[in-house]
């Protein structure tokens, strides 16, 4: 229940930022959505067993499913790479993005 609400909050915040103007808020929205999907994947492995899959012979009755964890670990690093890439897109934008001060938007759009 709490996990589902957390995912819902992250998706809601991510969606809100995704449809704003300006690349940086879109980037932040993507970061939130990535968090949401990662939690969702872990949730798919079941949340009643929460033991760490470490050591010799972990008890399958109480240990968390290691497979979603491996997926999520990979997904986090890929999301990081994509975030950095999108952040780069935010600073190579010219006048078409939210890159000028709000107050001087009409006059000094760098081109």
């Amino acid at each position: 229940m709490a996990l589902a609400i957390s995912v819902g909050l992250l998706v809601a915040g991510g969606t809100y930022l995704l449809v704003q103007r300006g690349m940086l808020r879109i980037v932040l929205g993507f970061v939130l959505l990535a968090h949401a999907v990662n939690l969702l994947i872990l949730s798919a492995g079941g949340v009643s067993r929460r033991g760490e899959p470490l050591g010799d012979g972990p008890d399958p009755a109480t240990t968390a499913d290691p497979l979603p964890q491996a997926f999520v670990l990979t997904a986090i690093v890929i999301a990081f790479a994509i975030t950095v890439y999108m952040a780069v897109l935010a600073v190579i934008g010219r006048g078409d993005d939210d890159t000028s001060e709000p107050s001087d938007a009409d006059g000094e759009v760098p081109r």
Binding site: V11, Q20, L24, L28, V31, G57, A87
Partner: protein
């Protein structure tokens, strides 16, 4: 007739594929076939006898529509529909494109809700600490939605990240949590570099946009909450997961099951991921070389002249001293994490991120931006890492399978080529982080003499500080410097 029956039966059976018994006769009685033949002959005779009258009858419109008309209308309709659908995203505005998947998901969710409804909540799935973490996430996300200053947004996205990190710890995923923690730190560093080239504030959206975004976000959040509730959380241990838990130590010699999945069982996935990281690093370099970056903005600080805060050289001294002590520790720590990854939380990704974090610390505490560039061949590190991983994978060909780790004994210690594979992972991650730091960090032109920040006056026509959803951002008291809040 008796003579022909067998031959025709055989031919008909062969043609039809099933047994057919032909029964030829001159007169079968009044049958459907006879009537149809009579109709055809009669119609033909009519056409021959009175061609003009038949022609005139046919020239009139028999139906209100014609075949050509129907086809044409269908073609035009399909074209118009295609234009309508494509028109939804015929725009350069990212919003138009990004909204579509969300809308599709909402349709899916509505269908699912109508078809299945919600299951009853299961108390085994919730523990008290979960609610605390949900609160942390709520605080971060709520702030992030309302925030107007970009720097504050950066802090808030960090808060959300740490909330999610704690979630991973609570769900029994220490490796994932460590990775998330490190990625969070590095994300903040990289975004901070980007922020120095962007305005201090986000542009306030129009009321209409904010309202639409709020409605869409609320619906998407509700839909995903319901989806998670209905579809996940109850699963028993998957058979694959159970196999990994039971067999990983025997199969791979490692006791950190998640890491053995990454480098032993599903190494091809990891190799693909390395490729993604490598491509990202290359694209960053290419994009920045091709278009150049926006110029750096003056720092958004108003510092009194004569204040000790003005001298960046002096200010960095604590950081530099700290780095001198912490730097070597970080290097050793990252190697230690790399070596033990097969058995305890650690491994290529985590150690690479720790190494990247060390480089970031080195970068941030440099006395000026122009000496900050770390002279390691970043992209070559990425490429080298991929090559190491692929070559290690080739060793698996000894076994007949690509990427199968080989185990043996080295100096009396159990050793596995999975460690070499992890070294490849380490190099790629460090190279990727270094690429971002080196390319986004240094200023394109030297800043003011002595690196002095230029004071920036706050604009009198600042946008209203509330957004459509009623959240208000913390206001700055007039007269105080912004330094206290933002440094």
């Amino acid at each position: 007739m008796i003579l022909l029956d067998p031959a025709i039966s055989a031919a008909a059976s062969a043609a039809a594929g099933v047994g057919v018994q032909a029964d030829l006769a001159l007169w079968h009685g009044v049958s459907t076939e006879l009537l149809l033949s009579a109709l055809a002959l009669g119609g033909g005779a009519l056409l021959v006898a009175a061609p003009t009258r038949v022609g005139r009858a046919l020239a009139r419109d028999l139906l209100p529509v014609t075949g050509v008309g129907v086809t044409e209308a269908f073609r035009a309709g399909v074209t118009a529909l295609g234009g309508r659908v494509a028109g939804l995203t015929r725009s350069d505005a990212p919003t138009r494109h990004l909204v579509m998947p969300v809308l599709c998901l909402l349709v899916l969710a509505a269908g699912g809700l109508a078809a299945g409804g919600l299951p009853s909540p299961d108390p085994r799935l919730v523990r008290p600490v979960d609610w605390l973490l949900t609160l942390v996430v709520l605080a971060g996300v709520g702030g992030l939605v309302a925030v107007r200053r970009r720097l504050a947004g950066l802090v808030l996205v960090g808060i959300v990240g740490f909330g999610v990190t704690l979630w991973f710890f609570v769900l029994g995923a220490p490796d994932v949590a460590l990775t998330q923690l490190l990625v969070e730190i590095l994300t903040v560093v990289v975004l901070a570099l980007v922020l120095s080239r962007l305005p201090a504030r986000f542009r306030a959206g129009s009321r209409r946009r904010n309202l639409g975004a709020g409605v869409l976000a609320g619906a998407a959040g509700l839909a995903s909450t319901f989806a998670v509730l209905a579809l996940t959380g109850r699963a028993d241990l998957s058979s694959v997961g159970g196999y990994f838990l039971a067999e990983a130590p025997a199969d791979t010699g490692g006791s950190n099951v998640v890491n053995t999945i990454l480098v032993d069982y599903r190494a091809l996935d990891t190799l693909g991921e390395l490729a993604v990281l490598g491509v990202a690093a290359v694209v960053i370099v290419v994009a920045l070389d091709a278009r150049g970056q926006l110029p750096r903005k003056p720092p958004p600080l108003t510092v009194r002249p004569g204040s000790p805060l003005r001298d960046s050289q002096e200010n960095a001294v604590f950081g530099r001293t700290l780095t001198r002590a912490v730097g070597p520790i970080l290097v050793v720590l990252s190697i230690w994490l790399l070596l033990r990854g097969h058995y305890e939380p650690g491994g290529g990704f985590i150690s690479g991120l720790v190494g990247g974090g060390g480089l970031a610390l080195l970068f941030l505490t440099a006395p000026s931006e122009n000496v900050a560039r770390i002279r390691l061949p970043a992209v070559a590190l990425v490429g080298g890492g991929v090559v190491v991983a692929v070559l290690t994978g080739m060793l698996g060909l000894v076994d007949g399978t690509l990427l199968a780790p080989q185990r043996g004994y080295l100096l009396g210690q159990s050793a596995t080529t999975a460690l070499l594979f992890d070294v490849g992972v380490y190099l790629v991650v460090v190279g990727m982080v270094l690429t971002a730091l080196n390319r986004l960090g240094p200023s394109d032109a030297p800043s003011g003499p002595g690196g002095e920040p230029v004071p920036r006056r706050q604009s009198p026509s600042a946008p209203p500080r509330t957004t459509g959803n009623g959240w208000s951002r913390p206001s700055i008291k007039p007269g105080t410097t912004r330094t206290e809040e933002e440094v």
